[in-house]
């Protein structure tokens, strides 16, 4: 069973009288343990698709199954719980809490977890994650005392605290120099390989997408190519339309 399955997903924004279709019928499936790049020029609907895939937004029509669960009909609270449990986010601008230690930043998502983790266990888990991203000696540093690459690694550790099967990285290297970018991307690859975490890299840079084993191109609200794994043939455009 694929981790993510989209069927003819559409999203239309309504600005006053004008209807603005952003996604116009996306069908897509991503298997567990894949490392996928989601590419597209700005305005292609890439961000909207990511918001929907990340359960931050709801599609106008179509079906979205995540880990076998139908998402498109969930309330915002249900989606919040789902995000907490199944999805980790890494952002372009890191989005760390200012004047808060790396450890506390990593611990933050746990305060919304449904399971009650003891303080000791939570700290142990956070310390372990920070060690794994190579920041074992910077637990008490605040974001302002960390470099960009280090901040992004804290963000990755934070995304992993609830053991999500799916990790979204929205332009994770957009604010980093090329050497640090390389480090971060290598880390994603390692996580994907060693932990089997499914990672979706949203980017507009081909260099970044090159780290993924599969690239999905979006253009004008439609998938240009890469809708299915390379192993399986991509569904024909006509077939997509008829659905």
């Amino acid at each position: 069973m694929p981790l993510i399955e989209l069927e003819n997903l559409t999203k239309t924004y309504r600005i006053g009288e004008i209807e603005l279709p952003v996604l116009r019928g996306i069908s897509l499936s991503i298997a567990r343990g894949e490392l996928v790049a989601l590419m597209g020029a700005s305005g292609s609907g890439k961000t909207t698709l990511m918001n929907i895939l990340g359960c931050l937004d709801r599609p106008t029509s179509g079906r979205y199954r995540l880990d076998g669960q139908e998402i498109s009909g969930l309330s915002s609270d249900q989606r919040a719980i789902l995000r907490n449990r199944k999805i980790g986010f890494v952002f372009q601008n890191f989005n760390l809490l200012a004047r808060t230690s790396a450890l506390d930043n990593v611990l933050m998502p746990l305060s919304y977890a449904m399971e009650d983790v003891s303080e000791k266990e939570a700290r142990r888990r956070a310390r372990e994650l920070l060690e794994r991203v190579g920041l074992g000696d910077r637990l008490d540093h605040q974001p302002s005392q960390l470099s960009g690459g280090q901040q992004q690694r804290v963000a990755i550790a934070r995304a992993l605290i609830n053991h999500p099967p799916l990790l979204f990285a929205d332009e994770p290297t957009g604010n980093l120099d090329s050497r640090t970018s390389e480090e971060i991307l290598t880390m994603f690859e390692r996580l994907n390989r060693e932990e089997g975490i499914t990672i979706i890299l949203v980017t507009h840079e081909a260099d970044v997408a090159a780290h993924a084993r599969r690239t999905i191109h979006i253009k004008d609200g439609l998938i240009e190519n890469g809708a299915c794994d390379r192993a399986a043939p991509p569904p024909a455009r006509a077939e997509e339309k008829t659905r």
Binding site: L56, D77, A80, N84, G88, P109, A113
Partner: protein
């Protein structure tokens, strides 16, 4: 589910952490609450202290006092006015003290009005009260200017000792110390053993210092009794009229046999049915006066064997006017304090709301992030509400310290009476938490309504 201990702990910790990220602003924000609560506590403590002082001074002037007088005697359709009956006994007084829970002290009083002579001076004091030592307690008059009060032993012995009021001392002794001197009351010599402190005029404008106090037995059996016929001013305090007593207390007719005049003069012994002119009673507090009246009335009706349809053979008077004024004063004070407290706390609350709104706007990205990692709307609401409440509670705690501190300063520096008010502290904590909830709700609600996508993109 939302009350898991780990999560509650983390919510409060997160709130404290968020407040610590901006210590100066949090401190200034909460200053309104600190000042508000501090002012309330200080004012309540000072107010209660002075209110207590006022209450005590009013109580001293007799707000807790009751006076029981016998009912009116009448003969052939002519009544002799209130207090002319002979229905009260010293035993009534003892029973009141023993059986009425809201009574603090009781003093039987025998009155007379006659001349007091010392050397070549004489004076007719307004009050000559024959009583017991508890009288001073009832009247709140325990601190004597000099000397000491007579004892219960001296009452039993009908000793010829007396206490003098200031006016009497001035008139008879020219303000010299009268201790140890002897004054004559209707040819009975009384040794002066004490001088009362100054009390001034009472509510009717009568000089309360124009007084002579002596054991009631002495006044009754040595002064009034012997001089009864000649004095004519006394309201019939004749103890030995067995016929009258027999009418009042049917069923107890076995009186002592009539004694001869010479016997009476030789041994002034208390007889069984001694009547007294009034009983003065002090309730435990001025507020308990109505309760005391009820208890005393039931007790005396029972003791006097009055049938249900018979009117009281006594009357009880209290200082209603005074009690009411006292109550009005303290009510007004409390209400005034409450209004001031309300205003200052509302001002503080507006400050909290203002800063919380700023904080929500400033932390829009953080809210978006929290939502993205799984915070539900209610989690965000709870978090910001907790922050506001924690802020207010810290303010309240500091306010209590400030309030107690300033009331202590007022007490030490200005020597004003203050009194610890637990109610004020409890109320302040409750009010600051409510202020936090009320004024923190709108910003928190606003935060919880943010769209995570918009919030994440907010610059």
């Amino acid at each position: 589910m939302s009350l898991l201990p780990g999560r509650v702990y983390r919510t409060i910790r997160a709130a404290l952490h968020a407040l610590r990220r901006n210590v100066m602003r949090s401190a200034l924000t909460t200053l309104g609450i600190v000042i508000g609560v501090g002012a309330v506590i200080a004012m309540m403590e000072i107010g209660q202290g002075s209110s207590r002082a006022i209450r005590e001074s009013i109580a001293r002037s007799g707000a807790d006092n009751l006076m029981i007088q016998p009912g009116a005697a009448s003969s052939g359709g002519i009544t002799f006015g209130g207090g002319s009956g002979m229905s009260l006994t010293p035993q009534d007084a003892e029973a009141i003290l023993r059986e009425c829970g809201s009574v603090r002290a009781v003093a039987p009083v025998v009155r007379t009005r006659t001349q007091v002579v010392y050397g070549n001076r004489n004076w007719i004091p307004v009050f000559i009260h024959g009583t017991v030592p508890a009288y001073l307690d009832v009247r709140g008059w325990r601190d004597l200017q000099e000397g000491e009060a007579f004892t219960d032993q001296e009452v039993r012995n009908a000793s010829k000792v007396c206490l003098l009021g200031q006016t009497l001392v001035r008139e008879l002794f020219d303000d010299q110390s009268p201790i140890g001197q002897e004054v004559r009351v209707k040819n009975v010599s009384f040794k002066v053993i004490g001088v009362l402190s100054r009390k001034g005029a009472n509510m009717m404008g009568m000089d309360q210092d124009d007084i002579l106090l002596a054991p009631w037995t002495t006044i009754k059996y040595r002064v009034s009794n012997t001089q009864y016929v000649q004095s004519g001013q006394n309201t019939g305090s004749d103890a030995s009229s067995g016929g009258t007593m027999g009418r009042i207390y049917p069923g107890q007719t076995a009186l002592y046999p009539e004694r001869m005049a010479s016997q009476l003069a030789d041994t002034p012994m208390p007889v069984r049915f001694t009547n007294i002119d009034q009983i003065q009673v002090a309730a435990r507090t001025p507020e308990l006066v109505p309760e005391a009246i009820r208890e005393i009335r039931l007790l005396l009706r029972d003791r006097h064997r009055l049938r249900a349809d018979e009117p009281d053979d006594f009357s009880i008077r209290d200082m209603t006017e005074m009690t009411r004024q006292l109550k009005q004063t303290s009510d007004l004070m409390t209400r005034l304090l409450l209004i001031v407290a309300m205003i200052s706390l509302v001002v503080g609350g507006v400050g909290i709301m203002n800063i919380m709104l700023v904080s929500v706007t400033e932390r829009t990205r953080e809210i978006g992030l929290r939502m993205a990692v799984g915070a539900r709307a209610r989690d965000i609401l709870r978090q910001f509400l907790t922050e506001a409440v924690v802020l207010c509670m810290l303010g309240g705690a500091f306010g209590i310290a400030v309030g107690r501190g300033s009331s202590w300063m007022v007490r030490t520096a200005l020597n004003w009476p203050t009194e610890l008010s637990v109610a004020a502290i409890v109320a302040s904590v409750a009010v600051s938490v409510s202020v936090g909830v009320i004024f923190g709700f709108y910003p928190a609600w606003k935060a919880s309504r943010l769209d995570p996508i918009e919030a994440l993109r907010y610059e």
